[in-house]
């Protein structure tokens, strides 16, 4: 079984996000970039399935600028068999990303596609669902446990009410939640080995995918600063202050 894993590069979760002074976007110069944490979980799950003998090949995919190659090498160092880099000027919006994945599915014929439930940069949480619809295959989103038996995936999902377990027929799309697993540490010798693993480069324009980037971002702004609090001496003063503001 072949597994396709989405592996997006985002601003590292430890970095304090800064909006560019002109409001045109988020500053990325000199900023640490790394794999979307949900995608790391997706890759880890795929690798575990391979180690269990369920899968035979894990392919990591990223859609992004030319310098994202080093990022894909990390995915290979973690253990993926090979990588596909769809070179695009910037990361696309979910519909475009889903269409690109559909193209790759046609080419690669995977039995399973594992994506992060969302990327921590735009927090869209759409690509997996859109891809399942376009592909006309089942989806199991927000997975916290995945078991594969034959042509069926039994997936425990994190839903508002607790946990829900569903079975989907393969091929299918699974999106990962935080508790699915804890990604492994990359070992130093594996970084060296990753340098010789196959990395295929495809040009976005040459894929013949219609862009679904219909949203235009007009302006970025940091959240408004919280205004200074007021210290009150006792309950009476608190009540007076609330009354003064018409809250009581």
């Amino acid at each position: 079984m072949k597994i396709l894993v989405g592996y997006k590069r985002v601003v590292d979760f430890n970095v304090r996000i800064q909006v560019k002074p002109d409001g045109s976007g988020v500053a990325t110069e000199g900023v640490k970039l790394s794999a979307n944490p949900f995608d790391d979980i997706a890759l880890e799950e795929a690798l575990r399935l391979r180690e269990k003998g369920v899968a035979s090949e894990v392919v990591v995919v990223t859609i992004g600028p030319a310098d994202a190659q080093a990022h894909l090498r990390n995915g290979l160092a973690m253990g993926a068999n090979r990588a596909i880099h769809v070179v695009a000027p910037q990361a696309p919006q979910p519909l475009t990303a889903a269409r690109v994945f559909l193209k790759l599915i046609e080419k690669e014929q995977p039995q399973l596609v594992i994506l992060g439930k969302q990327a921590i940069d735009d927090d869209c949480n759409q690509t997996g669902q859109m891809l399942a619809a376009l592909w006309n295959r089942p989806q199991a989103t927000f997975a916290s446990k995945v078991e594969i038996a034959g042509q069926v995936a039994r997936v425990t999902r994190e839903v508002d009410a607790g946990l829900e377990t569903i079975e989907v027929d393969l091929p299918a799309v699974i999106t990962t939640d935080l508790r699915l697993n804890e990604p492994r540490f990359i070992k130093l010798p594996d970084i060296m080995k990753a340098k010789s693993k196959p990395l295929e480069t495809l040009d976005f324009a040459a894929l013949g995918v219609e862009s679904g980037d219909h949203l235009t971002t007009t302006r970025y702004a940091p959240p408004p600063k919280r205004s200074r609090g007021v210290m009150v001496k006792d309950a009476a003063e608190l009540v007076a202050a609330l009354k003064h503001r018409g809250l009581l």
Binding site: D12, R16, P21, A27, K32, E182, K187
Partner: protein
């Protein structure tokens, strides 16, 4: 336990800073067949590098003659130097700029960004760079010579047990290990002690530099302007001063260095820096701006007379791991790059550590230190005699027949009961950060809380007895990240180490008066994630 994996190289370099990268680049330029790797504890190259920084470009010109065509992302030519004495919290006098501090022809850079820019150029030459891996221990062969480094294990819990993701660190073996860890490197510290490399020199001395990068409202910044100050908020007995560098795109880098030979146990270098920002010469510039990134790092100040022997069986020291910073110039990057290149040429020619110390000492790197050797220790007698002495040493170009002594920083603190603290006319602060925790936020520092504490205090009973009495726990003040706290009352009173806040500046390792704090590497990739510092 399974056999530990290992990898073999011709040379292993510890630290992807200017010295280590210059070494690796030069080595590949002159002897491309050698296999060299660079181990870096930060998760990406440059993320744990902090410097002013105004650099002299000459060594970079020699290393990469074409560098100007594709300059590092922050690289602003210096247009103008200013030197101010802040008399008190209100007044400031402009002084003539000392000759060493003339920066015509130099560039203001972010040293972190510069290293991140150097790394791919090294990789293009075949250097293997491994960020996110901490060189935790030196390896020794049967004869006792250094033969590589051991990478720290990943996935170890706070109590030392192995977590599910536990990954054993590998051994990197090489006939030659190059220590380019920067100031107070923890492997360098251990090896200097083991091989008694500092037997014939003065103790090393240090300063603590704290820096912030600010984004300001449009129109305030004069790109290329370099301002240094001395005086307030420090008293004349304490060595230190500020730097303020105007970058491009409405950004300034501001920082403050306090000599770690300060005597007042109640002094907080962090607070001194925050005070400085509120001087009327500086405050209007920053007001309304935003901090982009902030952090702290110890710097080497000992110079010529504190330079240890820079070679030992199987390993050499370069850059600030050796201690090559030029204090009057307040610059070490050119020295780091030059020493790295020189070491590469030595290694290419001989393949060994032997002879490196003599070669370094015969070079202009050490000659530069020798000429200014008396300037920094001259400030032991206070600011004014220090400036007079600096004037004499500058005019005489270091030809004084004497060499002033350096003394260990940790021994400089005075006991609270025998010390009259100077009056500090410090002001109420309004500019961010509010306190050290707010400051740490701008360092984006990250450590998995469930890992062994990487600040090892040999004997914590001292903290509540002798230290509390003699120095009132100076660790709670000298740490710029608020790592050390005394918490609880009565019998529950204890030292709490907030290791997750650590920004790897090494001040505690240096200044702790009993020398019982040992900074060791946390899990690889942990620590600050600086942006353009």
């Amino acid at each position: 336990m399974s056999e530990r994996e290992s990898m073999e190289y011709d040379v292993v370099t510890v630290g992807a800073g200017p010295a280590g990268l210059a070494f690796a680049i030069r080595l590949k330029q002159v002897k491309p067949e050698l296999r060299v790797c660079v181990i870096e504890k930060a998760s990406t190259v440059g993320a744990q590098i902090l410097s002013g920084a105004v650099i002299e470009p000459e060594p970079l010109n020699e290393l990469l003659p074409e560098w100007g065509r594709n300059p590092p992302p922050i690289c602003v030519p210096v247009t103008h130097d200013e030197f101010w004495w802040l008399r008190d919290k209100q007044r400031a006098w402009k002084l003539p700029t000392p000759p060493q501090m003339h920066n015509h022809g130099n560039f203001i850079v972010s040293l972190g960004a510069l290293c991140a820019w150097l790394a791919p150029q090294a990789e293009a030459l075949g250097v293997e760079i491994y960020p996110g891996f901490a060189a935790a221990e030196p390896l020794f062969d049967a004869e006792g010579a250094v033969c590589g480094v051991r990478i720290g294990d990943m996935g170890v819990a706070r109590d030392g047990s192995h977590k599910p993701g536990y990954t054993q660190g590998i051994d990197i073996r090489a006939p030659l290990t190059v220590l380019a860890e920067g100031c107070r490197g923890h492997l360098s510290k251990r090896l200097i002690a083991k091989f008694a490399l500092d037997r014939d020199c003065d103790p090393q001395t240090y300063g603590i530099g704290i820096k912030e990068l600010w984004q300001l409202p449009a129109g305030r910044v004069a790109p290329g302007t370099v301002v240094h100050t001395i005086g307030w908020p420090l008293d004349p007995a304490t060595y230190g001063g500020s730097f303020l560098y105007h970058l491009d795109r409405d950004r300034v880098a501001i920082g403050f260095v306090t000599g770690l030979d300060y005597e007042d146990p109640m002094l907080s270098p962090f607070e001194a820096f925050q005070q400085l920002k509120h001087h009327p010469r500086i405050r209007p510039l920053l007001e309304g701006g935003q901090i982009v990134s902030a952090g702290a790092r110890a710097i080497v100040e000992g110079g010529y007379q504190s330079l240890p022997k820079c070679e030992m069986p199987g390993a050499i020291l370069i850059g600030d791991a050796a201690g090559l910073l030029n204090v009057p110039k307040i610059k070490g990057t050119h020295q780091a790059i030059r020493s790295g290149m020189l070491a590469a040429e030595h290694v290419a020619a001989t393949g060994r550590a032997e002879g490196w110390d003599a070669r370094l000492r015969a070079s202009r790197v050490v000659d530069e230190l020798r000429k200014v050797r008396n300037i920094r220790p001259g400030f032991h007698r206070g600011l004014w005699l220090g400036l007079l002495n600096a004037g004499w040493e500058t005019i005489s170009a270091g030809h004084s027949p004497w060499t002033l002594k350096n003394r260990a920083d940790h021994a400089a603190l005075r006991r609270v009961d025998r010390f009259q603290p100077p009056l500090r006319d410090w002001v109420e602060r309004t500019l961010p950060p509010r306190d050290r925790l707010a400051g740490v936020y701008f360092a984006s520092t990250q450590h998995d809380e469930d890992q062994p504490v990487h600040l090892r205090v040999a004997d914590t009973t001292v903290c509540l007895t002798r230290c509390a009495e003699e120095y009132r726990n100076p660790c709670t003040r000298f740490c710029p990240a608020g790592v050390y706290e005394i918490v609880g009352d009565g019998a529950d009173r204890r030292l709490q180490i907030n290791a997750a806040n650590c920004v790897h500046c090494k001040t505690c390792d240096i200044k702790d008066p009993y020398q019982i704090i040992d900074w060791v590497t946390p899990e690889g990739g942990s620590g600050p994630n600086y942006q353009n510092l």
